[in-house]
Structures are given as structure tokens and as C-alpha cells.
């Protein structure tokens, strides 16, 4: 198929970016969206034009590195899908496709479609862990965890840190990402002990970064490739308020 691509190009974080038009022929339905970009880049290199930089690594939907705004939607038109798992059969011959980076909140473009999401790491660093020493741990089966609780913790733990929730949120809020970690750990007996301090530290860090406040628009849940529920945000607020009220 033949496509008209409108791609965000930006030299570095300080530079002004703009949409650049490309026409691409010979796209196959079996190509992933990123393979389509590889194909375009190959053509650009051959005509001496600097290729487009974009984030990616596993191309299996699990590392959370990829992420593009495609026709105004984070990770494109399909639900529960990362950009690398989106295939060109979701598009038609002759389509015009807008391709932009994940922007918003504390995220900044470093070049073209690449963004700096290190603020997410700083939120985890602030307390997104269980303070257990490494090297020696108690017998795993000494603390039973019900099947439902383990599954529910898993649902929260499945966040891949892609940032679609931030990019799609009109406030640029990181609430869904942060809440997923708070809830994952708070649901497990091992993580319960410090759940209040954790919520306070992580929420404070989230606020210290340039992320906006959550006003419960629910857009994040719709665009999340891992279908992380906004119920996690309620859980985070509960942990946070508990800490504030009860100390």
C-alpha cells in the first residue's frame, strides 16, 4: 500500500519541532508499525536524509520502550496494544497518518519521536519498592497469599512504564503509572508494612516532577496497552489519605 506520513521532526530538546511530510510506497500489511518506519528510514538513508529517531527495543509489547501518537491516539487505533504490536493491516491504502512523540507532563522530546521518561524512574526511586535486603529472605511459602490477591497484585504489576497514560492525559498526569505500583505492592502482605510511607513518597515525587494533577478523566485507562484499571488510582488515594490522616 501507499501512505502519506506526517512525522514530527525535532533536532533536540531545545529545538523547535515541525511536521514533515513523506510518501511511502510498498508498505505491506504484515509489517509492524515500527517496521514501516524502518522501511521509511532505509529510503531516507539512501537519499541522504537523516533517518527518523524513535524509541523501541523488544518489539514484543513488553519492554515499554516504544510509544507513538498515531493519528492523535497513544499507540494508535487498537486497544490494549503497544505501537510495536500494531500492524499495518490496521491501515488502508492511501491513508494519511500523523506520527508524533509522547509529550506531556514531565516528558520531553530528545529528538524526533524519542522522549525522556526518566521522571518515571525517579518516582520508583522515591519508594516504589519493598525495603527488603538482598541475599537472604524468609521461606517463600511461609506467607500464603490468596489466589485472588496474587492475581489482583499482578494486574497492577503488569504496567510496562510506557507513558501512554501521561501522554494521553490532558493534565499530563502520571497518576495511573504511580498508582499501579502503589497498588501492586500494597496488595501483598510483604509490601503492606510500608504502604503508607511509600504512597506519600511516590506521590510527592510525582508532584515534584512536572506532572499534572489527576482529574479522573479516565483517558489513561482507555489508552493503556496493559489495560491497567483506574481503580488503582482510587487505591493510591486511599493509601495516601490514610497516611495523611492517620500519620
Amino acid at each position: 500500500m501507499k501512505l502519506k506520513l506526517k512525522v514530527w521532526r525535532q533536532l533536540n530538546a531545545e529545538a523547535k519541532g515541525q511536521i514533515v511530510d513523506y510518501e511511502l510506497e510498498g508498505v505491506e500489511a504484515d509489517m509492524s508499525f515500527l517496521e514501516m518506519l524502518d522501511y521509511l528510514n532505509e529510503k531516507l538513508i539512501l537519499t541522504n536524509e537523516i533517518p527518523i529517531e524513535f524509541d523501541h527495543d523488544c518489539r514484543e509489547g513488553i519492554c515499554g520502550t516504544c510509544g507513538l501518537f498515531i493519528n492523535g491516539r497513544a499507540h494508535g487505533p487498537l486497544e490494549g496494544t503497544t505501537t510495536c504490536q500494531l500492524h499495518m493491516r490496521s491501515f488502508n491504502d492511501g491513508d494519511t497518518i500523523f506520527i508524533e512523540p509522547f509529550k506531556g507532563g514531565a516528558f520531553n522530546v530528545t529528538r524526533d519521536l524519542r522522549v525522556d521518561r526518566s521522571a518515571f524512574d525517579r518516582i520508583i526511586t522515591a519508594g516504589g519498592y519493598i525495603s527488603t535486603p538482598v541475599g537472604d529472605a524468609p521461606e517463600a511459602n511461609a506467607i500464603p497469599i490468596t489466589y485472588d490477591m496474587a492475581e489482583s497484585a499482578f494486574d497492577s504489576a503488569a504496567c510496562i512504564g510506557c507513558g501512554a497514560c501521561v501522554a494521553t492525559c490532558k493534565n499530563g498526569s502520571a497518576a495511573l503509572f504511580t498508582a499501579a505500583k502503589v497498588a501492586h505492592l500494597a496488595k501483598l502482605p510483604q509490601g503492606k508494612v510500608e504502604s503508607k510511607q511509600r504512597a506519600v513518597k511516590m506521590v510527592s515525587q510525582m508532584d515534584a516532577e512536572d506532572f499534572g494533577h489527576c482529574t479522573n478523566t479516565g483517558a489513561c485507562e482507555i489508552e493503556c496497552p496493559q489495560e491497567i484499571s483506574i481503580a488503582n488510582i482510587a487505591r493510591m488515594n486511599w493509601e495516601f489519605n490514610k497516611a495523611k490522616l492517620l500519620g
Binding site: 524502518d38 527495543d57 518489539r59 513488553i62 515499554g64 496494544t81 496474587a150
Partner: protein
């Protein structure tokens, strides 16, 4: 080929197998807590091996610098592992124990691994589950609240722990959080988007690294008293593989060129259940979990080049070749055997799909027996993923699967302490030659990466660092660092200056094809000899016709790729050479000249019971082969048989 026997000291402790590790721990030298803060350690890689090691070092009191090329440590390739992690906990009371796990692993690897290491792997496996659970890894549970297990290829007990189809992700998030906790405490400085491009040696010891900041293009020097590589597998050399796009062999290759021996580089695990290549523009192959083989039946049409749709081919015209050839294990035969059997049928003209490179994995019988709902509950997410990628509904039509390059069993040679042949340089996880021998059993790699990082290196590095306490801070302005930096800068400039006509991927794809064809599922002397010549030619072409735009002083992922491919073009040749010198078939190494009458691998224990260790002798000079003889004192060495 020179046949040199050098005594490589594997540093295996004395005593009976089951006591070696405790004896080692009881007698190795310690660095006291107060002295640890005088010592710096560099860890390259933040996968399971790297992040667990970095967190453990920091917690012990050392100063740690950790590096990875992704934008976050949480994205290392360990995140992609699906199936599970093994541990001899015997929670199912089905007769598992450390010895049995040790033996399964040794046998699975076709007796081409070191006894003492494999035993230690099994021994430490039980601690790992405790560690992970303490960190909040949500492993699968039974209704009673206790941990659940499943079975994996090549074993008869249930010892695999799993977190849905995302075990690697959850284990990595556990070790990543331990790492970030130490970052918060100031004991780890983390450098993301930094790629190691050179190892720095001072007075014969590893003393630091030269890295490129991938966000700015700046070159940096970092010094330390020891360097730990945990840079993962190099299977991406095949271009099409199940690995992530960024996986590379550069760190270990550059260490190899500084004197670290490379062990058995030709042993690559080819996974039998990947999605097949569907076109020329494909960038990677997606793994479908091996667990599908528990219920799916594998077949090809009996008739060659059968153009009918699978559902139109009657039972009598289907060849369930695994069940036919391996009645005892059937569709659950180990990976090397299943991959080879698929290739044999594909080569014989029975392959299916647009490129005739696949076999069918059929759930029709399972759906008839258990109902679609049960199959959906077991594998629903995998069926969804399959449909997303291929557009085919596998409840209605069989899946198409194909073998794909998956895991490097070879890598830097290490002794029992995980030390390479360079003092002060260690290698952990998939980038060392590991405990897997010539074939890795499923769910043992996550285990090895974690065990190396959490439980082994924290002890063994002390044995070395105890002598370094007085060394003082490493001076990164020394001539050694200066020279190393210059080498890196020259290399980058050289790549850009070629200004040829072909992008990096052109060379990577060509190299991958050569290695796949001649050093892949099967090998022959003739093919390998030819491949070595072809690689030499391709390397020449690379250095005159590569085209990399832009500069080295900016974000430039084409330049990153070019450096990795330059290394692959050298490593690939060594892989072929290694395969050429091993005149036997073992595990994933199947030389067609050495097989039994019914097409099974023919191992030659008399002549090849050793690890091939390659020493770099300089640019353009043939590498030299050293042999580490393998002794089996406690395990009975037998031929693998999955027929009965």
C-alpha cells in the same frame, strides 16, 4: 587448527559436589564493611544479572556505577522472558531435589557443562524464589495461598515458577526496584542510555570502561576496581531472532579483544515455537510460549508443497512427525530436537505458509477434548497475540510456527568465581558461557542470571577485591584511559567516514542469513568453511561501503547499530570456526556428518568432552583454541534419548 592444551584454572573448590559451595563461602576472603566503601565496582547491564549484582554490591557497601543502553533499567531484555523460572523447592512433593535438578540440567546440556557450577545453580535455585517473593513478585498461587508450579520441556517434575506469561518482567521489576532503592540511598549511580564501547586495562587488570552517552554522543571514562559485565546474549547476530533490537555482543567482544577468552560461541539455542518470518522487511521474530506445546499438536502435510488450507487436509494426510519420531516425549521433546525435526521437514519440502518456512501447531484436538473455553483460559493471551500479529484466529485454524535463534549458550569463559581470564573482569548471566552446556533447558536462564547476580558474585568478587583495598581511586586521566578513549573515538569516526552506499541493516541482514544457513540449526564442514569466507568478504564490503549519516556527537542510532554490526562481523566468524572444530554433534550443535542412522545427534565424549576457549591473538591473526577438559565425577554420562 592448532591443538593446544593449556591448563585453564576453573578454580573449582575441593570437597564433595554438595559441599563445594558452602566450603568456598566459608573460606573465601572477605572485605570488611568499612573497607567496602573504598572500592568501586562498575556493572554493565541492568538485566536480571546486572541489576541483582549491582543491588547486592551496593547493599554490601561497595560504590557502584551501573550502565545500560535503554532509557530505563527496567527495559533490559530479561523483561521479555515468558515461561518461568526453575527451582528445586519440591513444593509439589513429586520427588524433586537439588541433585535431580542438577542432573536434568547437565543431561539437558548434553554433558558439556561444568559439574560444580551446575550443582551450585540447582543449590541456589531455592533461595531465589524466597528472594523474589520478598520483593513482591506476584508468582502464580494455588487457592490455598501457596505457590504454584508447572512443568517444562525435558523434565519429569513440576519445578517451574511463573507469573502468567510474564515471568521475566516480574522478576526484573523485582531486581530493578532493589536497584532503584540503592540509587535512592546514593550507593548506585545509574547511567541509562550509555553504551560501553571499550574495556580499560591497567597493569593487566580491568580498571574501567569507555562509554558513549547515547543522548548526547559524548564519550565518557569511568574507572573502578572491578568491572562486571552482564550484557546479555548476542543472538541478534542472526538479525532475525527472538531477541530485542538492541541486544548486542559488543561489550564481551571488546573484552575478548583485550584478552578475555570466549567459550563455545557456536552454541546457540534455536527455539522451536517462534512465529515464522513473513516477509523481507521483518525486523525480529516473536516467540510464542513453549507452553503451547502442552496441548498443541505439531504436524506438516505428508504431500510436498501442499497448497491446500490446513483444515482441508484430512488426518490421514498429516504427518505428526514429533509424535512419530519421539513417541515418549512427542510434542514436548526438548528444544534442540524439536527445532531440528522441524527444519528437517521444512527442508524436505513439507514447510507451510507463504515462505514455506513453517509447521502447523494445531489445537483442534485439544479444543475437541477440553472445549474452547478451557483452551482460552490456558492460552487466551497467546492466541490474542497471535491474531494481532498474523491476523489469523488460531481457534479456527492451526498456528504456523518456525524455529528461531533464541539464546547464546556460549559467551565469555568464566571460572567458578565468574571471573574471566582478565583479572578483575567478571561476566554474569547470558553473556558468560554459563551453566547450560550445549543446550539450555527452558526456565533455567532467568535462574542463572539471578543466581549469578544475587548469590554468587557478591561472595566471589570479595576474594579478588580484598587485595585492592589499598589501590586508591582509579585515575581516569592515565595514559591507558586516554588511549582507550582514542580508540573509541577513532572507531566511531572511521565508521562515519566510510560514506559508502549501504545502510547498516543491509550488512546485518546478510550476516544473519549466512549464520542462519551455515551455523544455525544444523552445520556441515563444507558449509562452515564457506561461511567463513563469505563473512570475510562481507566484512571487507562493510568497511568500504557502509553508509552512516550524521555525526558521532549527537543522537545517532544508525551509528550505534553500525558499531554493533562491526563486532558481529568478527564474532560471526569465530562462531563458525568454533563449530568447525567440534567434530561431533551435541545439544544445539548438530554437525550433519555426525549423526546416528536414524538422524540423532552423535556425541563424541572421548575427543570432545571439553569447553572450547578461544584466545584473541590480534587483528587478522587466527584465534587460538584452548580446551578446558570436563570431568564428571558424580553424574553418570549417558546418551540423551527422548524416544523411549
Amino acid at each position: 587448527m592448532p591443538d593446544i592444551h593449556t591448563k585453564l584454572d576453573a578454580k573449582i573448590p575441593e570437597g564433595p559436589l554438595s559441599e563445594k559451595w558452602s566450603l568456598y563461602k566459608a573460606t573465601c576472603r572477605l572485605v570488611s564493611f568499612n573497607n567496602k566503601k573504598k572500592l568501586d565496582i562498575i556493572v554493565v547491564g541492568t538485566g536480571l544479572a546486572g541489576s541483582s549484582a549491582a543491588a547486592s554490591f551496593a547493599e554490601a557497601g561497595y560504590n557502584v556505577k551501573a550502565f545500560c543502553f535503554q532509557d530505563s533499567a527496567r527495559r533490559a531484555h530479561s523483561v521479555a522472558a515468558q515461561g518461568g523460572v526453575n527451582s528445586a523447592k519440591n513444593y509439589q512433593n513429586d520427588g524433586d531435589n537439588i541433585y535431580r535438578m542438577f542432573y536434568d540440567t547437565l543431561k539437558g546440556g548434553d554433558f558439556r557443562a561444568r559439574e560444580a557450577n551446575v550443582y551450585r545453580l540447582a543449590e541456589c535455585s531455592t533461595n531465589l524464589i524466597d528472594q523474589a517473593v520478598a520483593q513482591g513478585v506476584p508468582f502464580a498461587r494455588e487457592y490455598g495461598g501457596y505457590l504454584s508450579n508447572r512443568s517444562f520441556g525435558g523434565v519429569q517434575v513440576r519445578r517451574t515458577f511463573y507469573a502468567r506469561g510474564q515471568t521475566g518482567q516480574q522478576l526484573l521489576l523485582g531486581s530493578y526496584s532493589a536497584l532503584m532503592r540503592q540509587v535512592d540511598l546514593g550507593k548506585i549511580k545509574l547511567f541509562t542510555r550509555h553504551e560501553m564501547l571499550e574495556l580499560v586495562m591497567v597493569d593487566g587488570k580491568a580498571r574501567g570502561v569507555i562509554v558513549r552517552n547515547l543522548d548526547t554522543g559524548q564519550i565518557e571514562r569511568h574507572g573502578a576496581h572491578a568491572v562486571v559485565l552482564a550484557t546479555g546474549g548476542f543472538g541478534k547476530i542472526f538479525y532475525l531472532s527472538t531477541l530485542a533490537m538492541g541486544c548486542n555482543g559488543s561489550a564481551i567482544w571488546r573484552a575478548h579483544k583485550k584478552g578475555a577468552y570466549m567459550a563455545s560461541p557456536s552454541w546457540t539455542q534455536i527455539h522451536p515455537t517462534s512465529l515464522p518470518q513473513s516477509g523481507e522487511h521483518q525486523s525480529k521474530l516473536t516467540l510464542m510460549s513453549e507452553s503451547l506445546r502442552n496441548d498443541g499438536r505439531i504436524w506438516v502435510p505428508k504431500k510436498k508443497s501442499d497448497e491446500r488450507r490446513p483444515n482441508d487436509i484430512p488426518e490421514s494426510e498429516r504427518d505428526y512427525y514429533l509424535e512419530r519420531r519421539y513417541p515418549a516425549f512427542g510434542n514436548l521433546a526438548p528444544r534442540d530436537i524439536s527445532s531440528r525435526a522441524a527444519k528437517e521437514r521444512i527442508d524436505a519440502g513439507h514447510g507451510v505458509g507463504a515462505m514455506k518456512n513453517a509447521v502447523y501447531l494445531d489445537f483442534k484436538h485439544a479444543i475437541e477434548e477440553y472445549g474452547e473455553e478451557t483452551i482460552k483460559a490456558r492460552y487466551g493471551n497467546l492466541f490474542r497475540m497471535y491474531e494481532k500479529i498474523t491476523g489469523v484466529n488460531a481457534y479456527k485454524e492451526p498456528m504456523k510456527i518456525s524455529p528461531a535463534a533464541h539464546f547464546s549458550m556460549g559467551g565469555l569463559w568464566v571460572d567458578y568465581e565468574l571471573g574471566t581470564t582478565i583479572p578483575g573482569l567478571y561476566a554474569l548471566g547470558e553473556c558468560n558461557f554459563g551453566d547450560h552446556g550445549a543446550n539450555r533447558l527452558g526456565a533455567n536462564s532467568l535462574l542463572q542470571a539471578c543466581v549469578d547476580g544475587y548469590f554468587i558474585i557478591p561472595y566471589t568478587i570479595g576474594n579478588y577485591l580484598a587485595d585492592e583495598i589499598e589501590a586508591g581511586e582509579v585515575n581516569v586521566n592515565s595514559p591507558e584511559f586516554e588511549k582507550a578513549e582514542k580508540r573509541v573515538v577513532d572507531m566511531l569516526d572511521k565508521l562515519i567516514a566510510i560514506k559508502g552506499s549501504k545502510p547498516t541493516d543491509y550488512f546485518h541482514k546478510k550476516l544473519g542469513r549466512i549464520i542462519w544457513d551455515y551455523c544455525g540449526v544444523t552445520r556441515t564442514e563444507e558449509g562452515l568453511t564457506k561461511a567463513i569466507e563469505m563473512i570475510k568478504e562481507l566484512r571487507k564490503e562493510f568497511w568500504v561501503d557502509l553508509k552512516v549519516l550524521g555525526t558521532a556527537g549527537e543522537v545517532n542510532s544508525e551509528l550505534e547499530k553500525a558499531g554493533r554490526v562491526a563486532d558481529y562481523l568478527e564474532l560471526g566468524e569465530l562462531m563458525c570456526k568454533d563449530a568447525l572444530t567440534r567434530n561431533e554433534s551435541c545439544g544445539a550443535h548438530f554437525r550433519e556428518e555426525f549423526q546416528t542412522e536414524d538422524g540423532e545427534a552423535l556425541r563424541d565424549d572421548e575427543h570432545y568432552r571439553f569447553i572450547s576457549c578461544w584466545e584473541h591473538k590480534g587483528e587478522g591473526v587466527e584465534a587460538v583454541l584452548h580446551k578446558e577438559a570436563l570431568e564428571f565425577k558424580e553424574a553418570k554420562v549417558i546418551a540423551r534419548n527422548y524416544k523411549k
